[in-house]
Amino acid sequence: MAEANSLSPETMIAQMKANGVTDIVWLPDSETNFLYLLMSSDPDLRLIGVTREGHACSIAAGLYAGGRKPMILIQNTGMLESGDSIRGWLMGLDVPVVMLVGYRGYTRHGVITDTVAHYTERFLMAFDIPFYLVENDSDADRISTAFALAEKTKKPVVVLIGDEFHGFNR
């Protein structure tokens, strides 16, 4: 069982379903393995694995151009690597996509020792990308809020998964 106050994979899948996601373009990290098992067993979700996070941006743009509803699932480290692809392929082509970003190094008490966490929100603010923080199941409706904002603005919106309890690894 997931620990109390954690974000459960079932909640994530429910949010994907509720928002009509058809394809997950992703590169896994250590905290998403259980989510992978659920996603890969779902016949209505197509998983497209990439080898570099920036590739997810152009693939998602192509899926959107062809009428699908993709979601991107990566870690914050890869998001930093993907800056120009986010700019060119998602923002430049007006792609309304939600990027679910694992917030590696995040801690609720605010003492950060992992430099990628130090730069994550600063990166998003520099790129003017709206973002929401989701820490546990009670925050999950923020994911639907992110989908609504992406659709309204025709731009990418980020959901940071600040799951310091490692709910995906139960």
Binding site: I48, S58, G67
Partner: protein, 193 residues
């Protein structure tokens, strides 16, 4: 080597109703066709055209998707090839214009310009069909067979470089629409937007 204009002209005779992402052949392709199924995106971010084409091919399995990529893009995002091979869209036709240089920045050679076997890399990444062409006659002869068989197929073509030395801000803009306008037009034509 081939002239890109000749290669594009040869393809135009066999285009059918394919979606064409004109990529590095864009300024030649627009001389042949400029409809909502012609997708000149410019250069949103180098290395991503193959990913865009993959996504589009997966989203529209009933339509052939043709991409004119470049060897510089392949080198920058070589890791996309296994993803394409794994997804294996049968409607994806991946052409590469290999001019051996970064033409838009003045013609500096790409790393390994004389030694890389791009079709070999594609084949090793899992593309079921991959081939190199060096002369227009051989390319023109093989093209109908390439397009009649299922993809994904990788076709690397040695082309003469068309080097641009004019500063980017002073270049003549051949594209008539922004990339986002092109995507909106495509979605409208496909009935998904």
């Amino acid at each position: 080597m081939m002239h890109t204009a000749d290669l594009i002209e040869a393809f135009a005779r066999h285009r059918g109703d394919a979606i064409v992402i004109s990529g590095r052949g864009g300024r030649h392709w627009i001389q042949h066709s400029d409809t909502a199924l012609d997708i000149p995106l410019g250069d949103p971010a180098m290395g991503g055209h193959a990913g865009f084409a993959l996504g589009l091919a997966l989203a529209q399995p009933g339509k052939r998707v043709v991409l004119f990529d470049s060897e510089g893009d392949i080198l920058m995002s070589m890791g996309q090839l296994p993803t394409i091979a794994e997804q294996a869209p049968a409607n994806f036709y991946h052409f590469v214009l290999d001019n051996e240089v970064y033409a838009t920045t003045g013609g500096q050679p790409v790393p390994g310009s004389k030694i890389v076997d791009y079709a070999g890399i594609a084949r090793s990444s899992g593309y079921p069909r991959a081939m190199n062409f060096y002369e227009i006659d051989a390319f023109t002869h093989a093209l109908p067979g390439i397009l009649d068989a299922p993809g994904p197929v990788f076709v690397s073509c040695k082309v003469y470089p068309e080097v641009e030395n004019t500063p980017i801000g002073q270049r003549v803009r051949w594209r008539k629409k922004s990339a986002s306008e092109v995507v909106r037009g495509l979605r409208g034509a496909l009935g998904v937007g």
